[in-house]
């Protein structure tokens, strides 16, 4: 049985359709990523799934319980870590954890094995007030508080937003380790480089799901020739390539430009075009599409 089943869920705020006819499902024990830019509707979808919002239309079940009808039962079985730090800043690390454990009718020791890996890092600061913790530590505490009642399904809404690169990496490693306990996790993120950490991902934009697949599956959705192009005059290069007859799209990607062309175009064609436009030190190489390329393409064509 799937841990999360979403069937044609919609939610509007006035004129804005935050979530528009979304259907998907997450398998039990899966680490599932919901990826999309800010304003895609990720947080709204999360709030519906954790029983904080009622959908306008459609149905959803989490761990077999309906998010509207069985919300009371459901609340004991899910863990939710909102995007913003939402613990008591004037209570200590330990007090926050004890508070949430008690609220769920359990104790820290009862489920300690689930949080041990994370909590040992927090232990030196257990008497410090939560408000005085660093960003990464706050994140870990929030994760502990969301796990303390041993939920079946864990919802993490943009857990890595505003966290430094090292802490981000650490955070994903912690999630990978949690999979051992059979936990189903739904994680949302605006960072596409984090997609590879997930078992499966859904790409979301303006309230709709564009694609659902494994990270490699999403990469393979990209079926056109893709080249990395570099030259001395990057700005001129992007202008010229966008005007070229063979070009579909051209975006800047770090030091290279990613150029998508019509089928049948070879690096030689591109090179000839560049020489014609007097670009120096030009470099053109065919590359494998990444998730970001797929996402850009999907966004283009809807």
């Amino acid at each position: 049985m799937d841990a999360i089943v979403i069937e044609r869920i919609s939610k509007s705020f006035g004129e804005t359709k935050a979530v528009n006819d979304v259907s998907m499902s997450v398998k039990t024990g899966e680490l599932f990523g919901l990826i999309g830019p800010d304003g895609a509707g990720k947080t709204t979808l999360f709030k519906i799934l954790v029983t904080l919002l009622r959908p306008d239309a459609g149905q959803a079940t989490v761990a077999g319980f309906d998010v509207v009808k069985d919300y009371r039962r459901l609340r004991t079985m899910i863990g939710y870590m909102p995007g913003r730090f939402s613990l008591y800043p004037d209570l200590s690390v330990e007090e926050n954890l004890t508070f949430f454990a008690t609220v769920f009718g359990t104790t820290i020791s009862a489920n300690y094995n689930l949080i041990r890996d994370i909590y040992v890092q927090l232990e030196p600061f257990k008497n410090r007030r939560a408000g005085a913790l660093s960003g990464g530590m706050k994140q870990k505490l929030a994760l502990c508080c969301a796990l303390i009642h041993k939920p079946d399904v864990l919802f993490l809404d943009e857990p890595t937003t505003g966290v430094d690169a090292v802490s981000r990496k650490e955070f994903w490693e912690m999630l990978q380790r949690l999979k051992i306990h059979g936990l189903t996790m739904l994680v949302s993120t605006p960072y596409m480089d984090e997609a590879n950490q997930c078992d499966r991902i859904a790409l979301m934009q303006t309230g709709q799901i564009l694609a659902i697949d494994t990270p490699t599956g999403v990469e393979q959705l990209f079926d056109k020739p893709l080249f990395a192009v570099k030259a001395t005059e990057t700005y001129q290069l992007i202008q010229d390539l966008r005007r070229a007859p063979f070009t579909e799209t051209c975006y800047a990607f770090g030091e290279y430009l990613h150029l998508t062309t019509h089928a049948g175009v070879t690096p030689e064609t591109v090179n000839r075009y560049l020489i014609m436009h007097q670009h120096q030190h030009s470099e053109v190489k065919p590359i494998q599409a990444g998730i970001e390329d797929s996402f850009m393409a999907l966004m283009q064509h809807g």
Binding site: R54, P82, E95
Partner: protein
């Protein structure tokens, strides 16, 4: 039940940790009670009076003299003419100007009557009224003296109706006695209403409200967890206020102290209910603060704390039907000064009970876990 106790414990932990707020909550009511009680005094002193004497006779001087040697008046001086009297009033240097016309003494002697003019600055209406009253008493007194001399009859031999007032429940008309029971309850709205409302809205602002909403905490557990700490703190404040009133201001405690506590408890429930309702409809602490302040000022001004409710216009009387402060101040004064029993204040009890339960009911209904 266990969960509710834990919520209460958490609330107290947070309150005790916020030492500035804690000190303010304890000190502010006592300070306010002391300051307000001394400041809210309606006795009018230091009225400045100027005299325009157009007569320059013994009688005119005797009349002026009466004003000069009374505590409530401060003699500003003689003014040469009407015009300068106006100037003094306009500049705010004089509160009253007494104009004694020429031939005042002659008219009083020969025509058996003379007129005086009293100019009163009515910038502050109630002060002007009281000043006029004082001045009239002094002039009447002067009149009696003069008549006794002219007609040469003994002052006591004329048949006169003499009214002697006796002020019950506050024999010396002490303003302190009148104000303390009122202010004592007024202050409870501050902790019950304001602090409670801000506390809950803060949970909304920092997002912990949402975090609590995804837990199995039930609505009544949450509300009980929030109500209890503030009612308890309010009772501590009430106790301190009562001690200040009885030992510092020597307010008589005629009625039952238990009855006072019973009402304080009911009133605190009502205040926290109001705070809950306000927090349910506001999203930010500013909004909540504004709403509480609006209610507070309206309640206080209409409550009869400073001016009698009976003289207010009809619409204010209707508003006062739902003004909890008005009922509780009536209770406070009647029980403390008069020794009223529960039977005497049961109207107020039921009014407060109805307001309290509707506020808490409304707040619980508004406080929805899922939007």
């Amino acid at each position: 039940m266990n969960r509710t106790l834990f919520l209460i414990e958490k609330e107290f932990k947070q309150i005790f940790r916020n030492s500035v707020l804690l000190r303010m909550m304890i000190a502010a009511p006592v300070l306010q009670l002391i300051l307000l009680t001394y400041a809210a005094n309606f006795e009018v002193k230091n009225l400045t009076i100027a005299v325009v004497d157009g007569d320059h006779t013994t009688y005119a001087q005797r009349l002026t003299g009466k004003f000069r040697y009374i505590d409530n008046f401060q003699f500003l001086g003689y003014l040469p003419a009407y015009k300068s009297a106006y100037r003094e009033l306009l500049a705010g240097r004089a509160d009253l100007v007494l104009v004694i016309p020429p031939h005042f003494e002659r008219d009083l002697g020969k025509q058996n009557g003379a007129s005086l003019q009293l100019l009163v600055s009515a910038i502050d209406g109630s002060k002007a009224g009281i000043a006029t009253g004082y001045a009239q008493t002094i002039i009447r007194n002067f009149n009696d003296d003069i008549r006794a001399e002219i007609v040469s009859i003994e002052p006591g031999s004329r048949p006169v109706l003499n009214v002697e007032n006796q002020y019950w429940y506050n024999p010396r008309l002490e303003y302190k006695t009148f104000m303390v029971p009122g202010i004592l309850f007024e202050l409870l709205i501050l902790v019950g209403g304001m602090i409670a409302a801000l506390n809950i809205v803060r949970e909304k602002e920092i997002g912990t409200q949402e975090q609590l909403n995804v837990t199995p905490i039930k609505k009544h557990e949450f509300i009980l967890g929030k109500l209890t700490p503030f009612v308890l703190i309010g009772l501590v404040q009430f106790t301190m206020g009562l001690l200040v009133g009885i030992f510092l201001f020597r307010i008589p405690a005629e009625g039952s102290i238990m009855l006072m506590y019973g009402f304080a408890f009911l009133f605190l429930l009502l205040c926290v209910g109001l705070g809950l309702l306000i927090s349910a409809i506001s999203d930010t602490q500013q909004q909540a603060m504004f709403a509480v302040f609006f209610c507070l000022v309206l309640f206080i001004l209409l409550s009869g704390l400073f001016s009698s409710t009976e003289n207010m216009p009809q619409w204010a009387q209707y508003v006062n039907l739902v003004n909890p402060l008005r009922y509780i101040i009536e209770v406070g004064r009647n029980v403390m000064l008069k020794g009223s029993s529960f039977r005497d204040v049961q109207t107020q009890f039921f009014a407060l009970l109805i307001i309290a339960s509707s506020l808490i009911g409304l707040a619980s209904w508004r406080y929805r876990k899922t939007v």
